[in-house]
């Protein structure tokens, strides 16, 4: 009796539980997906606003980007970036909107054209020619080292001693 009763009870208790679990799991998965989607969408919008705000300089601040500044204008600009992204505008469209109003000086990285070429080219040239200059200087100072003879070739040493002899002779002649 007892085993039969347990056998009967098992399906009565477990069947709906399994069903319920499946349904609950499906609902939870669905809720998770919806919730996660919402959060990641919100995060990505914040990230995109922040990314664009970092690419624009605050027009009324000293060396601060729109993302870094707390000025009224920077706050307005961040608000407009958010609104335009929500309207479906691309990053380039949003940046163009600001360039059309404030000019290219608003860009944190000015495009390489006109005077801006100097900003892009001069650091490279400075590194190349600075490196060359340092290299030449080091080379010369190395080869000039040990004029006390140890690093010199025998023929140079001989020339030096001839030269020293000539100086001695000149000095003696001058003294006499």
């Amino acid at each position: 009796m007892h085993p039969q009763r347990t056998r009967r009870e098992k399906p009565i208790i477990n069947m709906p539980t399994i069903k319920n679990r499946k349904i609950a799991a499906a609902i939870l998965t669905l809720l998770f997906l919806i919730f996660h989607q919402g959060i990641s969408a919100a995060e990505s919008l914040d990230d995109r606003v922040n990314e664009i705000a970092h690419l624009l300089m605050c027009p009324v601040c000293q060396g601060q980007s729109v993302a870094e500044s707390n000025s009224n204008l920077a706050q307005d600009m961040r608000q407009i970036i958010r609104k335009q992204l929500e309207e479906g505008k691309s990053k380039e469209e949003v940046i163009t909107y600001f360039v059309n109003r404030y000019g290219e000086t608003i860009l944190a990285s000015p495009p390489p054209k006109g005077v801006n070429w100097l900003l892009w080219v001069l650091p490279g040239l400075a590194i190349i020619f600075g490196g060359l200059g340092i290299g030449i200087y080091l080379y010369k100072s190395q080869s000039g080292k040990g004029s006390g003879d140890s690093g010199k070739r025998p023929e140079n040493r001989a020339a030096d001693s001839d030269y020293m002899l000539k100086i001695d002779e000149e000095l003696k002649r001058h003294e006499s």
Binding site: V60, R101, G103, V115, F129
Partner: protein, 185 residues
């Protein structure tokens, strides 16, 4: 006796030449006209203002008129400085198809209202409820003033306090709708 050998001399000359060439290109290569605002010569961005007297005004309603658009704030000292000139010029131009509009930005309504009471401004004064107009017009500070011709094209932008002479000059330019005009300020 020369300190530098021939190779080094050539190197130095090449560097000098390159730097001079870059400077020359930078200074003379880009012949784009310098303007105070990239908006000069373009259609003025549309806006709708909520005026302090409760009415509303849109730029599109003012088509066919010369418009002076003055951005100001109650805490701005140069704005107080230019206020009498704006008032006098408005009285002079109000019957000559010229509209003056004051746009209050980055301010508190109460302070702005008492500013208007104190410094006059018989012409329409308002705010943009969306707080976008200042960015739409590329405003970086106050006072800044735009001059818009009868066909809706921005002819000039002036940064700083206005005088009656300056207003006369730019209003006449805008009324003449000099499309290629660029600001001298």
């Amino acid at each position: 006796m020369s300190i530098l050998n021939t190779g080094t001399k050539i190197g130095v000359l090449v560097i000098i030449f390159l730097v001079l060439a870059l400077l020359g290109y930078a200074l003379f290569g880009d012949r784009e006209t310098v303007k105070t605002s990239p908006l000069v010569g373009k259609d003025a961005p549309e806006f709708t203002l909520k005026l302090f007297d409760g009415k509303r005004v849109s730029l599109s309603e003012l088509k066919g008129k010369t418009v002076l658009l003055n951005f100001w704030a109650s805490w701005c000292m140069p704005c107080r400085q230019e206020a009498p000139a704006l008032e006098q010029s408005w009285l002079k131009y109000k019957d000559k198809n010229v509209v003056f509009i004051g746009i209050n930005v980055w301010d508190e309504t109460r302070s702005a209202s008492s500013y208007i009471e104190k410094f006059g401004g018989g012409y329409p004064q308002g705010i943009d409820p969306e707080e976008e107009i200042q960015v739409d017009y590329g405003i970086g500070g106050v006072p800044e003033t735009y001059f818009i011709g009868p066909s809706g094209i921005i002819t000039d932008k002036y940064d700083g306090p206005l005088t009656e002479e300056i207003i006369d000059y730019y209003v006449n330019r805008a009324a003449g709708q000099e499309r290629d005009a660029s600001s001298t300020n």
